[in-house]
Symmetry: D2
Subunit: 412 residues, 4 copies
């Protein structure tokens, strides 16, 4: 891929929709190791500079810009694809990434009501470490992973996706967006139906693209085929099991993240990079039956950052305006995030910086208790080791004196 | 406490509601270390036997059976209480715990539509390890923690709780219970308003109890004062910061868990024990302002089980009947849990056993991506190390041969 | 056991030598869970006070004061004993431990030439945490473990021990003590032959004791039966496999440590406690043949302190006087320890405090490279998380400013 | 570097001795990030084939083949160099490594008496994972690190090295090689004095090389300047502090390891690779005084393989022929290694394969207790997670039945 060329002038095929008929970009034998190059998910729309104009003006229709599809010889519906994530990273001469806060009315994010304006942070990638000229006293090892890896849907499955997502749109926004506390002038979209604008389908003939674009599914949500699951633990050394829905499996990948906190809350929320990924690909015949599942599953690797010193925030299902919700994990997470942001300002960070930190540092967000009606408790754990300063609560209250430590007992 | 006596005949005060006027059971000096004894949360209703009748017929009104309140000298509203969880465990002559699946119409649980009938599992506690005669080939170190620790609400805060929870009840069940996929004959409760039946308020005078019982808050949900947060990481060595709302803080604790998976999904869902907890208690004057928060927060200890070999399941916001929801983390978690349960049956476990395993083994449930509309991705990570057998997916497909490993190269 | 009574007036049998004929203190059925009470290893010689006189004047002949032997039904020579370490800790009303630096001429220690005088530190045990009034700004979770657990030797094995250790004594001190850099006035002992003074052999008849005392082995060194292996990772949840040499196995345990650094370098070097230990004991018939070993082995538990932020020191086989040794790991470790001690004085600790910290905090000492003649490299890793202050080298050189963190990019 | 060309025909300077006067290959500004390419330590002597002839016939005089020296602007004696290990790996088109067992009389190794013949294993590097066609059922993430990084010695320091190592040679082999149990026909070397044969000193003029070669120090041992410390934890994300002895520091690096067990026991013992390493280099002025040390030290990264399931072997200071040694850690490690090797043959591995596994898998070798005369206890911990099979001792004794797991209690 070429990070200086537009997506439709790349040397390799680029895909930005799910459709069963996209012709394979290449064929892989079971057991083969492949290197795949990927644009950043926006297709080079964001620049390494100090203005957030590109984030503010982002064109969302053509996302994500992905690589593939890759056909795996012998894979058939009912099989499971086994993908070992061997290694990945930014292109050697392009070692940087970006994180954006999208505008309220152009993408938004998890806390868009609190952060309605576009912001951007550029990160230098330093091998396994990263730091940013836009946020000081933070330097940490990333949990590098692909935001997206998924198999092509069958025609039947594609139809099912389109139907159920359209049904949500038709049910209307009242109940469910209220739960997510989004209060834009125009209702935010509930789902993203097929969007024929700016469709890229790899090597498909132009006339076929025109037809396919009417039904091809957007790549924004994760679904049965995995896709945009944005799981920070899908890193180096992990093994992914993906259900196969079409002959050849025709998997697609991209949206590489140098690091991400659970939730990827600012939406353009990981440290987004263009780069390469090495995979070994294999097939388990009749894998869905043998594993007893038709869902994606995985085993994480052993090389995610091994932090052990966390500061943890707790959120419940009561909105910031005091409204009680019913066992709502989303609200719980929002409250925990808002509290964490407030806390980080104790150390000199702006609220925008703190929001971006929660979205990029390997933060753990767990559903702690989901049965204690009406409040679900969600915890957001921020690793102290990611900071050059000490963010322990005790630093806010204690005065340590390093000159006198008492003494051990001597003979009397 | 006496595990053979009813809750209202205990040697120490028992409390099962939040109310500012409950008189302290004892007074603690800042910096003091205390041992507190606790009934199991049901107040001895569940027996160490092989019948689930007690779970089926559980009386829910008097729960949780907690210890306290404990007054901390000098604590005032605006301060933060600092509680070090030093150690905890079952009573030495009572080293067992229980996990229940509540009946659909008497408590229910996260997957109550799939598991409507009462079930029970008894666990032997073996020091830091546990195993069960009701589920074979599982033996693991628990993440022992108190399900509940919280400060007394002020009158104003109590009123706020009651108002907002009543408002939820009055908004009605349609939208929000649908999201949580609960389809009981009678609508399940949305929240639990004050319930005067079987109220225990420690050493409060009987006539005062009668009045307080009308407004005292149930202990089921976690709230601003922490309370029933059911956080599995609040274990040995952790340090908890709790906002103070009344003079003396008047904190209450109990609902000890020998182990729990994130979510505590079967509701009576941890390995529930009666036992003791050692705490060191201190006060940060003006702590809310100095920490910049009026929420509970904590630092975990360094001795939670350190597993590293997980099998991970992914769930999205599409219900098991195919209905698409809007970025709903609860639905994502439900789908991941259902998939994990199905998977565990590959190894000979019944679905009920698998449901209980997810609720008791230190399972990690993370909100992986919360912005990819309309699907939120939740992962449920099951530690292989908790099992005596190998639950790696590869064991379902591979045949390993331990007799011939090839050989190294020799001089030719 | 009674921490206020002398060892020979205890309610339970006390043993301080290895001998095949000591009668069992109790019999255990395979699969049974037992609680064993233990004196501290010195048999109550050390007091919780601020004078090191007791350490200086310690009587070494009667150590260690251990509990047992315990006969396991059906165990025979050739079997392996399986002991699950379920839990352990100090007696509830005696929650403290001690660490001593022994005098050069009464016990010494790993760095006795540098620390020839007696010193003592008292530790408060706070559940899983500990801290000391003698060393400030240190508070950490211990890696609680038994210093000693071992099976009784057969007569043949006992004879072998005595012969080989006597042979070492007769070879003389020149070469090997030089390597260990010990320069006492009188040559230090190379090994400890049977010592009839102050022998305790449990319930053995007095006349038999007199005879057995002439040949019974000291408990100081670890040997084939495990014994005093002082492995800090033998903690809660670990499973130990011990070879059986006599009918009934007749294992002995004690020398409980609340925490220890690798090496236990001050000799009286762990946080030494009196207390209890819960074990589950089982037998693998023909275990030596089935496991293919006649040595002790084990699997650690999952609840040792999970630190991740270490400062690491490197030592080589060159003595502090500049003498080059040949791939000598002991010298490598000594140099790394001396460097770590010097480093810790940067933060206000005395050299004695630092020496004791290396011996008690869960420090990792690894043989990094053992083939690079003539220098073996040993690393000593000190966990930053054990300190209330930050011992990162960067704190000695950086000035962090927490008031200004720059800012994220905005639209221009 | 060119993996197909001999070391003296490389495009970049190659160095295989320590000497203060080697001219810098390049100059680095403080704070600069650099990529350095490195030959494997043997300088391309070992091929990716199935014969161990190249290992048997290895020429040892020209090792190690290193890159540099690199001058750091402004660095002066007394400063500390700070090197961040950002990332490293094999060259993209050369993703393999080798491990050798050296012949008894041509290099040997830690257990050379037991493994006197040359052997070789080739490893495929698969991103962060590795496996070998010569050892089946093993696949693990490596702990990639540079075996060597060190600063140039001053003339004084070089002289000190040469003197003390020569003194060792002159003291003669008796005592110290006996301790290390090496019984070759000719006495093995005790140290490696300057060897003028096959010296490479980068860009130094040929006549200067001839003179310098007479005194330049071999790179085999680690010393005050760090050098060949072979520390497996010096991986991605670690920060190394090196004392500066000459103006410009003139550091050298190489001997890249894809993985290594503690001790690197087969001598050619890591997974040896040719490749690249990215570093960021900085200087602490007066660092020796400010850090209070003139030794190398470091902080490990957070991305070493995070294993938690180990099988641990224990060794004591008694030789395999029954000779008792005095607190000798080397003997302890040897016995633990020999026991581990024997144990691994239970699973079908040959003894040579097991020896190589201990040397390459991230095995932990700890000095557990070093004061319990006359036996020092060393533990060798083998991570079960590195194997595709289960090497838990319980698999050798249990029969697990996956078809029936009992059942939970139901209402009666």
């Amino acid at each position: 891929m070429d990070v200086d060329a537009p997506p439709d002038e790349q040397p390799d095929p680029v895909v930005n929709r799910w459709h069963p008929d996209v012709p394979p970009a290449a064929t892989i034998e079971p057991g083969e190791k492949v290197r795949i190059e990927c644009l950043d998910w926006t297709g080079n729309q964001v620049k390494n500079d100090d203005s957030a104009n590109d984030i503010r003006d982002i064109r969302l229709d053509p996302n994500h810009h992905l690589s593939g599809p890759f056909e795996v010889e012998g894979a058939e519906p009912g099989d499971m694809l086994v993908i070992d994530i061997l290694d990945l990273g930014p292109f050697p001469d392009n070692e940087w990434g970006f994180t954006g806060i999208f505008e309220l009315d152009n993408g938004g994010g998890f806390l868009t009501d609190h952060f309605p304006e576009a912001r951007k942070t550029i990160w230098d990638v330093d091998g396994v470490m990263t730091h940013s000229r836009h946020i000081e006293d933070v330097r940490f090892p990333g949990c590098v992973h692909p935001g997206i890896v998924g198999t092509a849907p069958s025609h039947e499955l594609l139809e099912e996706w389109n139907e159920r997502e359209q049904a949500l749109i038709e049910r209307g926004p009242e109940a469910e967006t209220a739960v997510n506390h989004e209060t834009r002038e125009d209702d935010p979209p509930l789902a993203l139906p097929p969007e024929p604008n700016e469709v890229l389908l790899g090597d498909m003939d132009d006339e076929d693209v025109e037809e396919a674009a009417e039904e091809a599914a957007r790549t924004i949500p994760p679904r049965e085929n995995a896709g945009n699951c944005d799981i920070k633990n899908l890193g180096r050394g992990s093994r992914v099991y993906l259900p196969v829905f079409v002959d050849g499996a025709n998997f697609i990948t991209g949206d590489l993240h140098f690091s991400q906190g659970d939730g990827e809350i600012t939406f353009c929320g990981a440290i987004e990079i263009a780069g390469w990924i090495d995979m070994r690909v294999d097939v388990i015949k009749d894998g869905m039956e043998r594993l007893g599942t038709d869902y994606a599953m995985f085993k994480p690797g052993y090389q995610d950052p091994d932090f052990s010193n966390y500061v943890v925030f707790e959120g419940y299902s009561v909105d910031e305006d005091g409204t009680q919700h019913y066992k709502n994990a989303n609200v719980g997470m929002r409250r925990a995030c808002l509290d964490a942001i407030e806390y980080l300002t104790n150390f000199g960070y702006t609220r925008e910086q703190a929001y971006i930190l929660l979205s990029t540092v390997p933060v753990e967000s767990r559903i702690a208790g989901i049965v204690d009606l009406p409040n679900t408790c969600v915890t957001v754990s921020v690793p102290n080791e990611a900071f050059d300063i000490d963010i322990d609560p005790d630093t806010l209250t204690d005065e340590y004196d390093s000159s006198d430590k008492g003494d051990v007992a001597k003979p009397s």
